[in-house]
């Protein structure tokens, strides 16, 4: 039947001649392409060992910050949970006892602080809402796991490790 658009192109398949049937030139041609790529610059990187430079405002896993004396900054005010559009954050507040002043900055602290990483959409609103500069999304990518319960990150994973501020090296800009 006549094509309506007139753009149809009928290909004719001719039988291959002996030279083509030997395949050798075709193999050589293909190999030459492969070998040429050995000497080209590779566009991929070996990810876990090698990491591409991240954007400065990349938002990864949350971390709960400590102040210059190593005390937790979070005071469980609940503004992060309020601002969270995915409702991923929950917390339980507790009162600081006498003798715990070196652990917590304010008289109230978060005894339990949980973020459900499956709910989190990494929008950074919690970071913006925090009045105490306690939460930042400055971690790496949240890694894969097998069970749903393992994605509920508690304080053990979120609070940044203690550091000595005098030992910190200032990065040269």
């Amino acid at each position: 039947m006549q094509s309506l658009s007139n753009r149809k192109k009928v290909l004719e398949q001719k039988p291959m001649n002996i030279w083509e049937r030997m395949y050798l030139p075709a193999i050589a041609k293909g190999l030459s392409i492969t070998i040429r790529h050995f000497f080209k610059k590779i566009p991929t990187i070996k990810y876990p060992e090698q990491i591409r430079p991240y954007s400065k405002n990349f938002r990864g896993q949350h971390s709960l910050k400590r102040d210059e004396q190593g005390r937790e900054r979070c005071t469980a005010c609940g503004l992060c949970a309020l601002s969270c559009p995915a409702e991923a954050i929950t917390m339980i507040a507790a009162e600081r006892k006498k003798g715990e002043e070196h652990l917590y900055r304010e008289e109230k602290y978060a005894a339990v602080y949980e973020i459900n990483m499956l709910r989190c959409i990494f929008c950074g609103l919690c970071e913006e809402a925090c009045p105490k500069e306690a939460i930042y999304l400055d971690g790496p990518h949240v890694t894969a796991d097998y069970l749903r319960k393992d994605f509920i990150y508690g304080k053990d994973k979120l609070v940044e490790p203690k550091f000595d501020i005098t030992q910190l090296k200032q990065e040269k800009i």
Binding site: E87, E95, K108
Partner: protein, 338 residues
Amino acid sequence: MAEEEVKFKVTIDGIPVEVAPGTTILNAARQIGGDIVPPAMCYYSKLEGSGGKCRTCLVKVAKGSEKDPRPMPKLVASCRTTVMDGMEVHNITSPEVIEARRGVVEFLLINHPLDCPVCDQAGECKLQDLSYEHGLEQTRFEFSKRTFERIDIGGKIQLHMNRCILCYRCVYVANQLTDNREHGIIGRGIHSEISTYIEKALDSDFIGNVIDVCPVGALTDRTFRFKNRVWFTKPVNAHRDCPTCSGKVTLWYKGEDVLRVTGRKDEFGEVEEFICDTCRFETKSTADWILEEPAPIDHESVIAANHYYEFNLPPVIQENKKLQLANEEQLARTERLK
């Protein structure tokens, strides 16, 4: 001979209203309602003699009365000034008032610790609302703020003198609701503080009301201390048969638990009826109460955030029977909450 009821005609921000003689400008404005009501930190309509302390309710009187149309020379405290016939008052329409109010807020915040993230009052704090509306974003106060130790008044009430703005409301509650006066203000000027004289425990049936009348977080419920944030709890009106008080309260739920019991507050943040301490502190389970309905919350309040009480019908559904049937479940849910 029946005496004709005299009504004074007042104009507040261009809105005329007729009120009885002896009404204050603030109450006249409250009869109109809306944005033109001056904020009040110390005035409390249920407490006799309150008002005149905080100066946040300052208004400009552009015309004294019909007989004497001269304006008042200075801004006046609307909670203490009674209306005259033909008075013209400027509140939010006067830049002078806005400027003065900003100054007052700055003064109130001079010694305020601004520990809202820790404070249990945050979310329903009058000072928070006021400074959000009128205050500067930064403080100009360079000196150290006065500080006090936290004091437990009795077993159930906690006094944070740091946060107090000296509105005297709690003193009036103690004077007028309880038998004998047990606490007051000692010291003068910057040294004044609310005190119970040697931290004497306050034990009266109605002393818990000082928590409700406190506009800031100076007097807070110890049984609710750090339990949860106000805006994560859900207010529900309830009542019970109480021998000492009316028993009409608001329960603040988190899930199944009643975290806190307070008096029912109206749109100006004043309790409708004072409740006794048994209702406030002792009866904290649903079984003690007869539930009525979700307490009405101003939709601009943070407490209303993330709560969806009503399923707003899109106009399409309102007209279409088929769609109404399809959304039956949602509509029924809204009907229950109404």
